[in-house]
Amino acid sequence: MDFLRDPFGFVIQEYTGWLGGLGLPAGWVDIIAKLTGALVLATGAMLFVVFLIWYERKLIGRIQDRFGPNRVGPWGIFQPVADMLKIFTKEYITPIGADKFAYNLAPILAVAAVLLLWSVLPLSVTVVGTDLNVGLLFLVAVGGLGEMSYILAGWGSNNKYALLGAFRLVAQLISYEVPLVLSALVPVMLAGTLSVNGIVQAQESVWFIVAAPAAALIFFIASIAEIGRSPFDLIEAESELVAGYNIEYSGLKFGMFFVAEFLHAFTVSMIFATVFLGGWQGPGAAEIPVLGFVYLMLKTFVVYFVTILFRGTLPRFRIDQMMNLNWKVLTPLSLALIMAMAIVGGLTRELPVFWQVIAFLLVNLLLLGATDQLMRLSQSRKTKSNLPMQPLRKVLTTSTKHGAGE
């Protein structure tokens, strides 16, 4: 293994070799090596956020025909650094009556839940954090831990708006986790393993987005909803909830929620690139591992670019529209998709891979087309009967005498 072909793997090998030569017990060498790896990866991810914030602001600026940050440094690249310095010196204001423990734990947990996702993502052939045999399920489960941090934040703040915002956000997140989990079943069926690296390796001949575009689309939309961004950024509905669950936070505690959001957006893009776009797979990636890292980053940035494009161009959903999209379109579609894929896959098992992929593709496109037609049909039926638009009845229900709900 030489440095140019695989710098990361080379450094890791040299480092563990050097550690082994120090004469420590074997268990400690293992622990120190893993600790170093975790520290480097987590620090890298946190620092990467600085770049992401700049990239996103610049891109959003371009979409809106602005310059975006352009004062500090060339192309404004040091703007996030300046912002960070500012936010570092801001006072922490803890509201009266806040539950101190929950209030302070929430921003930490929010970042930690996102960072932990990086521990199972394979970055290249040789740099695999850990090849867990239930990796994909781990990604879904740990992604769900973020919900707990929002509940802690909303409940710990001792503020009605924060609580309402938190519960609304959690309702959104758990709703969209249903199609997310269901559509994640499809790549598992195709790959025959839950290990993330195994899923990447199974995409050597054909990416899963080709075999299952409908699953990829559902996964992508649900992922965007999971990071709570436009068009699904109802938590930030300023007019209704002031600012959502983080209203009572200030200084870096507030900043941590933003770090978590940006990092989550990027991580989700990376998960999508790994599960559906072949991860580090690409021409020559197996021989020259550093190429695999480049491919993964390229794919991730393409996906990330699309999420920012969504954010910059689409208007915000109303909450009932958002829930309808999830429960009446995405969830039934993903259920139908799994059943159809299972049956078609079972019937075409004897065929060569090429024809099997064609069959999968046809099923996916058929289902997508049918969904599109059904949505149009229900839309036109709604307009034909000339019903007035459903008013947004009591989105926020506070405590009433009979409990709530009506």
């Binding site: 781990f138 489960a141 831990l145 919900e147 707990m148 758990i174 009506e406």
Partner: protein
């Protein structure tokens, strides 16, 4: 004592302590949050037993779904009374006695069993093989019937819970 034992003891102590907090916390919300910590501790226990699948499923189902459901219910059923006043029934001493006695009986009986002191060694890497589990779940010689019944049970729970909870005529009642 090796590292794994330390991890086990830490996780066990944390979960038992937070379990004790679950049953004694005054505020229901605190009890629910302690429950989350207990569940995380149990997930770590599953890891030390080398069942990655159930460690992850524990986080996914218990922390991600059941705990959220419980927290929502706590928010749905809160009254002013809940934050003060006793949360424990008058007969709690009897309950404690029953629980303590049961613990003593269980441990006493287990101690008589010769396998009690078996050392659990590390299993081969493919021990919790999902492939085998998946095949066993749908094989007629294995768990095909429980597998389908699980689905029926889940649907029954879904329908039942919705029928009970989404009751649109309840407004006439006090």
């Amino acid at each position: 004592m090796n590292g794994l034992q330390v991890v086990f003891l830490l996780a066990a102590l944390v979960s038992l302590f937070s379990a004790a907090m679950v049953v004694s916390a005054r505020r229901m919300m605190h009890a629910a949050l302690w429950l989350v910590l207990t569940l995380m501790g149990v997930a770590v226990i599953f890891v030390t037993l080398q069942s990655s699948f159930f460690a992850v499923v524990q986080v996914l189902v218990y922390v991600g779904a059941i705990a959220i459901l419980i927290i929502f219910s706590v928010m749905l059923t809160r009254r002013v009374m809940e934050d003060h006043g006793d949360q424990i029934l008058p007969g709690w001493r009897a309950a404690g006695l029953v629980a303590g006695l049961l613990f003593a009986i269980i441990v006493g009986f287990l101690a008589l069993w010769q396998g009690f002191t078996t050392m659990l060694v590390e299993l081969p890497a493919d021990a919790d093989n999902l492939l085998d589990l998946g095949q066993a779940l749908v094989s007629p010689q294995g768990y095909a019937l429980p597998f389908e019944l699980a689905s029926v049970l889940l649907v029954a729970a879904l329908i039942g819970a919705i029928t009970i909870a989404v009751d649109r005529k309840e407004d006439q009642h006090g």
